[in-house]
Symmetry: C2
Subunit: 484 residues, 2 copies
């Protein structure tokens, strides 16, 4: 609906300007075309051009000068893409034992998260800032009011059928045709992952994962598998050439990927690259486990397709949930399991039994009434604006040369600090001031990304958050000053 | 509160009469003491005696004859205890492979469960018959109304703290002192079990389980363990002498037990036996995983203590949920994990991440307002009366010699048919008439309990249910007639 009636033309304008800056057509410090001129050139009204410029200003790419117009920011202060994990990346397996030893890090981190005095600035979840409370409550009420208290009864089978139909309809809009009876509901995306792992992984198996890895990869420790990290790029996503070499060298059993706005890099794989990934794995009979939890939080004109949309061989298991797109407390997830539906169901059943009928029927109602779609539009705009604010704050407070990723969706940005800054030390010193930031090395099984941190932009922007970014910048500058 | 103000004296009266019948003081067909006489003898008012007699009549133990009084039923028709799994029980391990092959049975069963035309008569869950819908809805509303939409936010740590405090208070009434910060919330009892399994079990380990086993034991297939079945008795529970021999012969790693009203037998272990079990396992360093999901659904005067109440060595992990005591759709469970709390938490985190805050805060409110206690009283009476009706129906319709277990709590009764009846065939013929009954062999890893079935008595008693029991009886009688 929204895409058809109000295509995001401002996004196209912004992309065009960004491209011109990148290619050098518009060098740092130069004046960009006036609103009037570009409006005429592109056949777009001035308000749209104005929104595009405002967004670029918000992201620190342009700056407005009173009664003069918009200019490209001086280079040093503009956001540029942080590095990925390419370069000297070793083709090397990590043993199950090494994975288990991560448990201590995990416990340490969670005691920090559990402390309500700490402000968590790397959070990969949109806050509840834009959720229309009354509307969801209405859905919950109508769910509870179903005759015979059905909402409190067992979900004996795949999960609440009307919700599975709504999801199938939603995926159709995402370019993916899936029958409702191949969707298995779960207690959230992490359970979805575990169900896929349990079904597919046997001790000793080799599993390819994108590096930097995310927390949910921690689950792997329970399956006795060996992990092969595949480098990835903040813009392009997984390094497919590397993966191709890896597939030749090792007998890989399954591969985990998050092609749409992957936490912590925010990378988005193009359709061509998704297609190549799916076909490459299918040829070798390697199952792809795709997490698409951020797919609905996109800033562009169209919702990026899941890799599963290119899955002709029934070789991709897609997992997702409402945790990132509605609220983490919803705890409703699902698995698109194709021909493996009954196995996925049986595996989920022995993991947590039935699912939460009350929440599932509430979410079905929320989708049916068009509230999910409306909510997504608000959320997408909120996150996009929030990324702008975060970028502004980092460019203002962080040391010169800091690079802030500009993902096209999701809620996390990957930040590269000057090489001399130690991210782990930054994390420790920040925690002493009740700021919890995830440093680059916390996303790796081997020492890597020393001078990186991840910053989330999903929450409501507050003075406290702005202040935290300032403090982080000061701590980083202090490190640099010491070393001179 | 209830226990202090209105002790269930009628239950004591009923126990006394039952004991006198068993010991032969009151033989079949004899007249029991009049209400007036027993009232005087026991110093209890006549209404109480009347209620006790009425309950025994309901259970098929007594019968009332107009203007004559109550009589002990003729032996053939009275319920007597079905057999347990003693006798020629082998001390033998079952391999992980054998467990996995159960998956086909599982799929078969679930397709039967998923068919809404089938009436499931072995259900181990109380129906929603007695749940006061408005009261729970009030809790849900107040949970949702928490400021800042907290009910939809992440549960970062152990789970909603006020609920853990309410549970700690509740366990204190059950004779078990546990600090709230040693309670880890989960997405239900099955997840609680999985968390314990993941934490404790390694491939090749030997796990002792009570036989007949229940469905949730199916989870074990994912852990590569070997299973050692321990026989149990419908009245006494697990055969501790057998367990003692097993502990001598094998290096057992952990033991699963449900000392309070175990599904499918409904057995209740005495305090002495619980104590012996806990101490025996502690001496050998074998962890006891205790499921206490039925503990709150007791008919007697006091809530039976969990085995964990006797745990001095921090060697028992108790798992439970609200699925049996409130409604299966609540999907709120917990683990009492003692010194292993952080490990249990980390394991749950990587299994399903945070838990459902909305439901947890609703349940905290439900407990705080005394509604849980009130609900339990209603549920206990409902189940007790329902067991009476089921017993009556079975004695009326089933072949002579059928024995119906009379558990003192829970929602499942274990039924022994005449030896010549084949339970599996009964199951198949009943399913053709849309009645789903679990036959004895479905609870076993080896052929056993051929002439047994399990019957649930938690649902609302309906004509359809009565009719289903009648049909089962006819099918069983038909089998007997054929063989003559």
């Amino acid at each position: 609906m929204e895409n058809a009636l109000s295509p995001r033309i401002y996004q196209q304008v912004a992309d065009r300007i960004t491209e011109q800056i990148r290619s050098g057509v518009l060098p740092p410090g130069s004046r960009v075309p006036s609103l009037r001129l570009l409006s005429r050139q592109m056949g777009v009204n001035m308000a749209t051009i104005n929104r595009a410029y405002w967004m670029l200003e918000n992201r620190g790419i342009l700056e407005s000068r009173p009664s003069s117009g918009f200019y490209v920011r001086p280079e040093a202060a503009a956001p540029s893409a942080p590095s990925g994990s390419k370069g000297d990346f070793p083709l090397q397996l990590t043993s199950p034992k090494k994975l288990t030893s991560n448990l201590e890090t995990f416990k340490y981190m969670f005691s920090a998260l559990a402390n309500p005095s700490n402000l968590f600035v790397s959070m990969g979840i949109p806050g509840l800032a834009v959720l229309k409370s009354q509307s969801l409550q209405k859905s919950l009420r109508s769910s509870y009011a179903r005759p015979g208290l059905k909402a409190l009864d067992y979900n004996w089978f795949l999960g609440y059928e009307p919700l599975r139909r709504q999801l199938a309809r939603h995926y159709l809009d995402c370019g993916l045709e899936v029958p409702p009876n191949q969707i298995v509901m779960t207690s959230g995306a992490v359970e979805s992952l575990n169900v896929a792992y349990r079904l597919l992984m046997r001790p000793g198996d080799i599993v390819a994962v994108e590096s930097p890895i995310i927390l949910s990869t921690m689950c792997l420790q329970h399956y006795g598998v060996r992990v092969l990290e595949i480098p990835s790029d903040p813009e392009q996503g997984m390094d497919l050439d590397f993966l191709e070499r890896a597939l030749k060298k090792f007998k890989i059993r399954s591969c985990l990927a998050m092609p749409n706005f992957r936490n912590p890099m925010g990378s988005l794989m193009s359709d061509e690259r998704k297609k190549r990934l799916v076909e490459m794995l299918a040829r070798k009979g390697v199952t792809l486990i795709e997490s698409d939890v951020y797919g609905d939080v996109h800033f562009g004109k169209t919702r990026p397709r899941p890799a599963k949309a290119f899955d002709k061989a029934d070789n991709v298991i897609l997992v997702s949930s409402f945790s990132k797109s509605v609220a983490p407390g919803v705890k409703v997830g699902w698995v698109l399991a194709g021909g493996r539906t009954m196995d996925v169901f049986a595996t989920r059943w022995v993991n947590t039994n039935g699912t939460n009928t009350l929440m599932e029927s509430a979410m079905a109602d929320f989708m049916e009434r068009g509230e999910y779609r409306r909510h997504l539009r608000k959320l997408q705009r909120h996150c996009e604006e929030s990324l702008g604010r975060l970028t502004q704050a980092v460019l203002k407070h962080f040391p010169e040369g800091t690079k802030v990723g500009q993902p096209k969706g999701g809620v996390v940005s990957w930040v590269e600090l000057p090489e001399k800054v130690d991210g782990l030390r930054l994390h420790k010193e920040a925690l002493a001031q009740n700021i919890l930031v995830f440093p680059g090395p916390s996303f790796c099984l081997r020492p890597r990304f020393r001078n990186f941190i991840s910053l989330g932009f999903g929450s409501r922007w507050t003075d406290r958050l702005e202040k935290a970014i300032e403090t982080l910048g000061q701590l980083a500058k202090k490190q640099l000053a010491e070393k001179h």
